[in-house]
Subunit: 142 residues, 2 copies
């Protein structure tokens, strides 16, 4: 059987240390600031939901589950659970923080887009750069 998936990777160097970025990635009110309203907790197995205003093709919520938590370098959660929550997306988001001389290389990988998810792939591909820009600003206040 032929199967095909696409993955998005966005990398951004930030001038903050990993610990600050980790706080912005994992504290509920901060995540709300740069990404969406949520009931995230940095606990493996925790199920949570991102919520925002519905748009054409998206009902306004995305069901997720925490898969890995390695403070302050690696955070993995599923994004979409195959239900209507996110137009059927069943992707995985992996955050990797690598310290550099002056800050942190932040890598966001969203994998598992199937051919049927092309609209979501395009939307997220256009969306992540702005999201990482907001994350950097939020981390500055973490």
């Amino acid at each position: 059987m032929t199967t095909e998936t696409k993955t998005l990777v966005v990398e951004r160097t930030m001038s903050h240390p990993p610990e600050k970025i980790w706080r912005a990635l994992t504290m509920t009110p901060m995540v709300a600031e740069w990404l969406m309203q949520n009931d995230f907790q940095p606990v493996v197995g925790h199920r949570f939901t991102f919520r925002a205003k519905p748009m054409p093709g998206w009902k306004g919520y995305t069901n997720c589950e925490v898969k890995e938590v390695v403070e302050p370098t690696r955070l993995v959660y599923s994004w979409g659970d195959g239900t209507e929550s996110d137009a059927g997306l069943m992707t995985v988001v992996t955050w990797t923080l690598t310290p550099t001389a002056n800050g942190t290389m932040v890598r966001m990988e969203q994998s598992g887009f199937r051919p049927v998810d092309e609209m979501g792939f395009k939307a997220m591909g256009g969306g992540w750069p702005g999201i990482l820009e907001r994350l950097e600003k939020a981390a500055g206040q973490a």
Copy 2:
């Protein structure tokens, strides 16, 4: 300084062994069949050009250089050299072939899209899945 890049990854399982896919990836007339006219050679340091009909935003050629050749599992070449050849793209394409029980997992990674390359990112993101489909067909005759 803040820098940001995006990477596209397309993975497709194919029912052919790596050796067949490798031939389709590296033999000039076959590459022309699934990708573009070219003077590719699987030799590190070899500079070559992909050519096709110009389109808005693309002059019809892309200057490349072979970076790594590990038959039959890994092939790396630069894609665009920062000149007008490919709207200034300076990306790197990495092909990875991993044998599976029934064939091969083919992974194409194109990295190094800067914010200014967003149009190219969108175009390539839409283009690669069809290209890999054609690669699979070409490999069937390799």
